[in-house]
């Protein structure tokens, strides 16, 4: 693994090669391994090591980036020259700011009128676990063997993955800023397949000790067994119970819009709506990199330390996040009075980019009276329990109508009990409508899916969820 000291040496070599006014260097990469299984067999099993150096140079308001995965002198000369030659032919960008120094990145400079100082480094729990970094192919295979054992016990077929990774993320710039983040991540995803049904579970954590493959396997198997011989019920509006992974995958489609740049570009569904009560009273969402169930780097693409940002409070959209330049542009723009508190929040992407920024550490607040999924089912006279959503896409961007399918465990609930598995549905549902109709929630948990990034979200019971068609299985 590349260390911060080694990266610092590379940065110094790059500085000597560069003739630019300013230089910024990002480092990323690490070691990644994934064991994949299907039909009760390990059929793919991979490992890689790779580190990337990415150089941004600035000449009089013009900037560009070049990237390489080679650190020898010739490659570093190429990456600097490529960045500089791309930058020099740009038109000057009046919105480009000088790179931040370490004081600004830490929040010691500039206005802080909104009471949300950057998260202190010492309050963020370590996200690097040596035991996770040391997971071997043999250990992964033994874990898969146990999962396959669960499948065979239930006369099912198992498919899935067990991956482990150790990664670094670092930034250095010519104004003296430097920051470094190391992390590990282990992930298990399991699909159990029956003759006409399937069940799924997925979990990940920086600490592999938090993962319980046998419980994940047994829950997947239970879903596959209980959803066998699926019944077809007509499409329509149903009360649904979305398990946390299903909530994560659908709500994830709105967080690109919690961006100052999205407001400036008038592509966000929050354009003109910040300060409005858009969702139900029971919806409160924040971005919080320091949350103990979160993961990821505490600084953004320019090295700015992330702040906690309250995005939604009791259904009212309070704020969006800002990169430095976006905040400056917003202060001068016609939208500034409808943009909420304007302040760089440490959520910018690496420059140059078109999207600006995005909250990536989403945490839903728990309800006053959290219920378990079992309790929510017991309180439901008639409804649909959804394990997982799939192939979600945006149909209409301003009302945030999304379409997608249920998958791997969809059940009919009647009289407070799971009655049977049902054929999967297509939904067309507005996120605004959905988050205005949440009747009950569980305690939020760290969830992961396939359509959106990891979040801390609850299970939700939602009335009048709009299923428009059923498929054939």
């Amino acid at each position: 693994m590349l260390t911060k000291d080694q990266a610092g040496d590379i940065f110094n070599r790059i500085r000597k090669l560069s003739t630019a006014d300013e230089v910024e260097v990002l480092f990323s990469g690490g070691a990644f391994a994934l064991t994949r299984f299907a039909n009760n067999t390990i059929h793919q099993n991979v490992a890689e090591e790779n580190h990337v150096v990415s150089v941004r140079t600035v000449f009089g308001g013009r900037t560009a980036r070049a990237t390489s995965n080679k650190f020898d002198d010739e490659s570093l000369s190429w990456v600097v020259a490529a960045s500089e030659s791309l930058a020099k032919v740009q038109h000057p960008d009046p919105d480009l700011l000088p790179m931040p120094d370490s004081r600004e990145a830490a929040g010691a400079v500039g206005q802080d009128q909104f009471g949300e100082a950057p998260v202190p480094a010492n309050t963020i729990p370590s996200r690097h676990f040596a035991a996770t970094a040391g997971i071997t192919p043999e250990l992964r295979a033994d874990c898969v063997s146990k999962i396959v054992g669960v499948a065979e016990k239930h006369k099912l077929t198992a498919a899935g993955i067990f991956s482990s990774a150790e990664s670094i993320e670092g930034i250095f710039n010519s104004r003296g800023l430097s920051d470094w983040h190391t992390q590990t991540l282990a992930e298990i995803s399991i699909t159990m397949l029956g003759a006409d049904s399937s069940g799924w579970q997925k979990a990940n954590s920086p600490d592999a000790a938090n993962l319980d493959p046998l419980t994940l396997g047994e829950t997947s198997a239970q879903k596959a067994r209980e959803s066998s011989h699926p019944q077809e019920i007509p499409a329509g509006k149903y009360t649904v119970i979305l398990e946390p992974a299903a909530v994560l995958d659908i709500v994830g489609f709105m967080f690109w819009d919690y961006s100052g740049m999205g407001i400036l570009d008038q592509r966000s569904f929050l354009t003109g709506r910040i300060g409005s009560k858009l969702f139900g009273e029971n919806i409160t969402i924040r971005d919080d990199v320091a949350h103990p169930l979160q993961s990821g780097s505490p600084f953004d693409g320019e090295g700015m330390r992330r702040r906690r940002v309250p995005l939604v409070e009791n259904g009212v959209v309070k704020r969006v996040v800002y990169a430095r330049a976006t905040a400056e542009r917003m202060r001068r723009s016609e939208f500034r009075d409808k943009a909420g508190p304007i302040q760089a929040t440490g959520h910018g992407f690496a420059l140059p980019n078109e999207m600006g920024e995005m909250p990536l550490n989403i945490v839903f607040a728990g309800p006053q009276n959290p219920q378990t999924v079992e309790q929510i089912i017991a309180s439901t006279e008639r409804g649909v329990l959804v394990t997982r959503l799939w192939y979600i896409r945006e149909v209409e961007p301003f009302e945030k109508i999304l379409t997608g399918m249920t998958r791997d465990g969809t059940f009919l609930i009647e009289d407070g009990r799971v009655q049977c598995g049902i054929r999967n549905f297509r939904f067309n549902e507005s996120l605004i409508h959905m988050l205005s109709n949440v009747e009950a929630m569980s305690e939020p948990v760290r969830a992961c899916g396939e359509e959106s990034f990891d979040m801390v979200v609850p299970a939700m019971k939602i009335r009048e969820f709009n299923f428009t068609e059923a498929t054939k299985f």
Binding site: F32, L34, R36, A38, N39, N40, T41, I42, H43, Q44, N45, V46, A47, H51, V52, R65, A66, S68, N69, K70, S75, A82, S85, L86, Q90, H91, D93, E138, A141, D142, S145, A159, G160, S163, I190, T191, S198, D265, Q266, R267, T271, P352, E354, Y391, R393, V395, E396, P397, F398, I401, T403, M405, R407, D408, N424, R426, N428, E450, T468, T471
Partner: protein, 488 residues
């Protein structure tokens, strides 16, 4: 590079691998974008590395490294064998590869102009000219453009004696105009949405696309959509333009014919397929007019799925997928060919880069054009009542590839053979085989375009791959239109 590959092959053999192949890949890319009159991003990237794929104890192992020193290459090969032995702890049977003649070959994507030789200034000037045209139309609130160039050079060397050096070029370009007004965002894109048109070509593609010449019209359509009526709902005849039909082919033919999906290998992520093995040569996939091929050969055209050899050294081929409506073929690999009674791979195994395992990917999955001369305007003239839909806006399909729903950017209601009015938010949905069986007209070769889909995701870890899809505008009868907006 062969000597570097041999370091890995020697170690793999020494450690007991029964088969090994090595890919050394050097990738270069340039991405330029503009947004509302300014350069949005400008970046060059290169990535160089190698990977070793082995069979040991009858199971697969794969390891990759960015370090091409002898010590690192040998360590990577050793790691691949260790991983294969770990895989062998959980197996039902040994991996068997269909035989393939090992060849020594050299191939480069035919191109007239190396896109990396065109100055960045010229490219930015072009994008800013398009941007200016888009924003000259009152009501446009966001204009975005992009140019992308890629060069992938690969050395493939196997323990069976293959030694193949291929260099692929791909070029892409496009733009989008957004109009926000009231409570509505409308968008038009050219020549296609989500990145435009992509082909395995040089810079000559950019010159062919006539980007600036179409910008004003596209922007005017985006604004005009705000004044258009909502697309009618119900069972209607629809005509799809060739780009939307290309994506329809991708989702409802290309993915379900991937044999690894069919065999359950993708069950945890991308899903499986309704095309179980019993359906080969028995399923009536579409109407008699439907002829689909998977064609990686140069003669099919410069699609993103065009190559000389796949990433396990098998020559690019043409496989009939749907023949006069009958389902006739899958996409296969050396490992999977035997499951459909074939003794040779269909040549479809490809990897995103040096650090990814090759897997079955679409090549150019194309609907062949109609035999009889038929232009789009003639097809519209021959349609009594329906909707002509252009340019994809949203797409979704279930994990067995039955139920799909697509939205398009713009529609035109057809009445008595004429485009009666523009309609906004057109969408349609259906079940794959029912849909393809409803096809009753395909325009002829003059209307056929080989589109590129640069962003097809599959696999764990996920890989993004470019695929090609040739199509001509076609008509489908009695399709469910508009349910995307019903009740939501």
């Amino acid at each position: 590079m062969k000597h570097v590959a041999n370091w890995a092959l020697d170690i793999a053999a020494l450690r007991g691998a029964s088969y090994a192949d090595v890919r050394i890949v050097a990738q270069s890319s340039r991405a330029l974008t503009t947004k509302n009159g300014k350069v949005g991003s400008a970046s060059d990237a290169e990535s160089v590395g190698m990977s070793v794929r082995v069979i040991a104890d009858g199971a697969w192992g794969f390891a990759a490294s960015d370090d091409l020193s002898r010590a690192a290459v040998e360590a990577t090969a050793g790691r691949a064998v260790e991983i294969a032995r770990a895989s062998a702890r959980v197996k039902q049977h040994d991996v068997q590869l269909a035989p393939e003649k090992a060849v020594t070959a050299e191939w480069t994507t035919p191109h007239k102009i190396d896109p990396f030789t065109v100055s960045v200034e010229q490219n930015i000037d072009l994008l800013l000219k398009v941007d200016s045209e888009l924003r000259a139309v009152a009501g446009i609130t966001l204009a975005e453009t992009n140019l992308n160039f890629n060069r992938d050079e690969q050395w493939f060397v196997s323990s069976e004696g293959a030694n193949i050096h291929q260099t692929k070029y791909s070029t892409g370009a496009g733009y989008a105009a957004y109009a926000f007004a009231g409570n509505e965002i409308q968008k038009r894109s050219y020549p296609n949405s989500y990145g435009g048109q992509w082909q395995n070509k040089g810079y000559e593609l950019i010159e062919e696309l006539r980007l600036a010449e179409n910008a004003r019209r596209i922007a005017e359509e985006a604004v005009a959509l705000h004044h258009a009526d909502q697309c009618p709902e119900g069972a209607l005849d629809i005509i799809l333009d060739s780009s939307q039909l290309g994506l329809q082919i991708h989702e409802s033919v290309g993915h379900p014919i991937e044999l690894d999906r069919v065999l359950g290998m993708e069950a945890n992520f991308a899903g499986t397929s309704f095309l179980t093995l019993d359906k080969l040569r028995t399923l009536r996939y579409g109407s008699e007019l439907v002829n689909v091929v998977a064609d990686a050969r140069q003669e099919h055209g410069p699609g993103l799925g065009t190559f000389a050899f796949d990433d396990e050294g098998v020559p690019g081929q043409c496989t009939p997928i749907i023949t006069n409506g009958l389902f006739t073929g899958y996409l296969s690999s050396r490992e999977t060919a035997h499951t459909i009674g074939e003794n040779r791979s269909g040549g479809t195994l490809r990897a995103e880069g040096w650090n990814r395992l090759p897997m079955i990917r679409m090549t150019n999955i194309s609907l062949l054009p109609g035999h009889e001369p038929l232009s789009l305007e003639e097809l519209i003239a021959a349609t009594d009542h329906g909707v002509f839909m252009q340019t994809n806006r949203s797409w979704s399909i279930d994990d067995k590839r039955y139920n799909f729903q697509f939205g398009c950017e713009i529609g035109w209601e057809i009445k008595r053979g004429k485009r009666a009015r523009m309609v906004k938010n057109p969408s349609y949905s259906g079940i794959t085989t029912e849909f393809w069986n409803s096809l009753d007209a395909i325009c002829s070769r003059d209307e056929w375009t080989l589109w590129g889909t640069p962003n097809c995701g599959k696999g764990q870890p996920q890989q993004v791959m470019g695929t090609g899809h040739g199509a001509a505008p076609s008509r489908f009868r009695d399709i469910k239109v508009g349910s995307a907006y019903r009740g939501s």
